[in-house]
């Protein structure tokens, strides 16, 4: 473990900010969890979600600070405000977790996902796929006479929309990274 002086409880989660937590409406929240990059830590975080029955809609993880040995896990989850509070509290108290940021609560944020989309087709379908890719600013990263692999980044909704349009044009396979997110401004 590296020496750090981050105090537990001083993360963005606080038991004191009680928003209208009595709502029964489910909300989607994007959480950024800064953890010690050690074996087993990701398993511990994911185990919390499966063990306590919380949802994971998207998950990305990578080391973001090689010297400080820290990884950033971005989780998109769903739940009522009370459940979201509970998820944040449960994450915050984990020993290898340094900080939990609720990007949905912390103000506006930028969310991006990368997708690789393979489309097979000939003739008009092929031309139409290429035209739509341009509109969506997707790049062709591989092509044969009867297929393309498009690369695109954007919000998950944009990728969903693109994939939907490609379906009738010969969508074969899609690979997505899951969401990476940062809050806007400083």
């Amino acid at each position: 473990m590296s020496a750090l002086n981050i105090k537990k409880g001083s993360t963005s989660h606080s038991a004191y900010d009680l928003r209208s937590a009595l709502s029964e409406v489910e909300e989607s929240h994007t959480l950024a969890v800064i953890v010690e990059n050690e074996p087993g830590v990701l398993a511990r975080v994911i185990g919390l979600f499966s063990g306590r029955g919380y949802n994971i809609d998207s998950l990305t993880v990578a080391e973001v600070d090689h010297t400080g040995h820290r990884s950033r896990i971005t989780i998109v989850t769903r739940g009522t405000p009370a459940v979201i509070d509970q998820i944040e509290a449960q994450l915050s108290r984990m020993v290898p977790v340094y900080a939990v940021h609720d990007l949905t609560m912390d103000g506006p944020s930028v969310q991006r996902e990368l997708a690789l989309v393979k489309v097979r087709g000939k003739g008009d379908h092929r031309i139409e796929a290429l035209r739509l890719a341009e509109i969506f600013r997707a790049n062709v990263v591989d092509s044969t006479l009867e297929s393309f692999v498009f690369e695109m980044t954007g919000t998950p909704e944009k990728i969903d929309a693109f994939a939907e349009l490609m379906r009738p044009l010969g969508l074969v396979e899609i690979a997505r990274t899951g969401v990476a997110a940062l809050s806007r401004g400083v």
Binding site: M1, A3, K8, G9, G40, G47, S92, R93, Y98
Partner: protein, 581 residues
């Protein structure tokens, strides 16, 4: 000055540096280097158990009765999997223990080697934190961190998995003061503004209650002292969960008794009817709340807890205070005194009058018998005959456990060890040994049910070998009594597999272990038999044959609100005759 040593030696050195005096364990191939080092020294005592589950419960009993972390050492594979129940028990009840497991050598991990198990994988959900140490240079530091994590914040079990080659290899020893632990520093001071809100509410409360739990005991002896001062200065009634018994004295004038599913009528109705509930180190467990929707509907609630995730998990509260009970209560009392606070005397007097009416129901009343020993009577006699002694009680799980909580009185913290959150049958016997090892001169009694007791009875061998004079007070109803009670009340009296068939002769069993056996089935002989047990200098198995079909009341069936409590026939008769406000 750098100190090179083997990983195995580091383990022993690190335990010594952490002040460990006793290790409960069981050897095997993957921990032999550590056992070799234990053999070569005399500072740490090793207690050889008979099953690894026993080792972990002993470490728990040791920890609960001393406030210090307990330590267990087991081998890889089956040794580690046998420790899982104890780890889960300690997690649920927030008990600080450190479990060391051996592992196959690093180069064999992942090959399905002999006695290989994915120990950190298996134990991840049942530890506060666990580590697989692959480099001897990191071993000592990890052990020091493990002790820090187990004992700071909300206490809990931690596990360190140590491959055999890591035990053999040499590296430099990291002393405790050099180990980096600064990243895990949970907050302990409560927010003074929230505390001020609480103090104001206390001044105006008409029907307050202090709802205390195991957190008071975990916070240390000072927390119990402060709680007593708070109760004394405010005159507020005090109840406690199963885990908190002893933090406020049973003889104290504000004591309402335990609350919850088998808690006292007056405690549960006071919780239901209060206007200010102050939760101190308890966690709104479902055995306490009953149906959440109807839980204490008219009260403002404050919750003091060191674990922020406990707050608003089950019950939403008005005043959340994250902090260590000792520090928070110090601040509560400081503000209370500094403001010259006064309670609502008239309101409180009315409240106590109401409570006294509830008390008059005498919810623990039972019909005694001249010919059969009633379990409640057995515990009343045990209480009377051991009162004032240097006494520690452990229990198994079932009816006997609830009766023990109802009929035994605890004056101090750390005197009562029971499996609350997990409800682990088989906990009490090994726990009693752990307590006795920590307190060799004390009277340690395990109040047991015959079925639970059989689950870890092999540990009588440990008690004999290490001269732990534990008293096994078995309330033998020849039934899985608590299961039978639920079947009677909730499953149409279909007694599916709730008999204890083919029980051993407990007196002969005692003889076989080389200890003393006592059998008693007549109320007239009971006092003498209990005195014989207490006076005997060594372990005793006491087979107390009790009424087989007694039910434990009061009872709030699960999922029901507090005011839908089942009472014994005697108490019910009294209640229907009494005028209740």
């Amino acid at each position: 000055m750098s100190k090179q040593m083997t990983g195995a030696k580091m383990v022993v050195q690190a335990l010594k540096d952490q002040g460990v005096e006793v290790v409960f364990g069981y050897p095997g191939g993957a921990v032999l280097p550590i056992y070799d080092e234990l053999f070569l020294q005399n500072d740490i005592r090793h207690i050889l158990v008979r099953h690894e589950q026993g080792a972990v419960h002993m470490a728990e009993g040791y920890a609960r009765s001393t406030g210090k972390p307990g330590v267990a050492l087991v081998t890889s594979g089956p040794g580690a999997t046998n420790a899982v129940t104890g780890l889960t028990d300690a997690l649920m009840d927030s008990i600080p223990i450190v479990v060391l497991t051996g592992q196959v050598p690093t180069f064999m991990i992942g090959t399905d080697g002999f006695q290989e198990a994915d120990t950190v994988g298996i134990t991840r959900p049942c530890t506060k934190m666990n580590w697989l140490v692959k480099d001897t240079a990191k071993l000592a530091e990890t052990i020091h961190q493990a002790f820090h994590v187990a004992t700071h914040g909300r206490p809990g079990p931690v596990l360190i998995d140590i491959p055999k080659d890591v035990q053999f290899a040499n590296a430099e020893y990291t002393p405790a003061e050099k180990a980096k632990v600064s990243h895990y520093q949970p907050r302990t001071e409560g927010d003074p503004d929230q505390i001020a809100r609480l103090v104001e509410m206390m001044e105006s409360a008409e029907r307050p209650i202090l709802y205390t739990g195991g957190g008071v005991i975990n916070s240390g002896a000072r927390a119990s002292q402060l709680l007593r001062e708070l109760a004394e200065e405010t005159g507020f009634p005090v109840t406690s969960t199963l885990m908190g018994l002893g933090c406020y004295p049973a003889s104290g004038k504000n004591w309402l008794g335990m609350l919850g599913m088998h808690g006292l009528y007056e405690a549960n109705l006071a919780m239901h009817g209060c206007d200010l509930m102050i939760n101190i180190g308890a966690r709104f467990d479902d055995r306490i709340t009953g149906r959440v929707k109807d839980f204490s509907p008219r009260s403002k609630k404050a919750h003091i807890d060191i674990d922020p995730s406990s707050i608003n998990k089950v019950i939403r509260v008005d005043v959340p205070i994250v902090g260590d009970v000792t520090k928070v209560l110090e601040e509560v009392l400081r503000q209370w005194r500094a403001r010259g606070s006064r309670t609502d005397k008239a309101g409180l007097a009315k409240w106590w009058k109401q409570i006294d009416e509830w008390r008059a129901v005498k919810c623990l009343a039972y019909k005694n018998s001249a010919t059969t020993i009633k379990p409640q009577y057995a515990l009343e006699r045990l209480e009377a005959l051991t009162k004032g002694m240097d006494r520690y009680i452990t229990t198994e799980v079932g009816q006997h456990q609830m009766w023990a909580a109802q009929f035994l009185g605890f004056e101090d913290p750390n005197r009562w060890m029971t499996s609350g959150g997990l409800g682990t049958m088989g906990y009490g016997l090994p726990a009693s040994i752990g307590v006795q090892i920590a307190h060799p001169e004390a009277l340690v009694i395990n109040v047991a049910g015959e079925a639970s007791w059989l689950m870890n009875m092999q540990e009588m061998g440990t008690a004999m070998q290490f001269r732990a004079p534990v008293k096994q007070f078995i309330l033998n109803n020849e039934r899985l009594g608590m299961v039978r009670q639920w079947q009677e009340l909730l499953h149409g009296e279909r007694y599916s597999s709730s008999w204890s068939e083919s029980l051993p002769d407990f007196v002969k069993l005692a003889e076989a272990f080389g200890c003393k056996g006592i059998k008693c089935d007549d109320p007239k002989d009971l006092d003498d038999a209990i005195m014989e047990m207490i006076r005997y200098d060594g372990p005793v198995i006491f087979d107390c044959l009790v009424e087989k079909h007694e039910n434990c009341f009061p009872m709030i069936p699960s999922g029901k609100p507090h005011n839908e409590m089942l009472l014994s026939a005697d108490a019910e008769a009294f209640r229907s005759g009494a005028v209740l406000v």
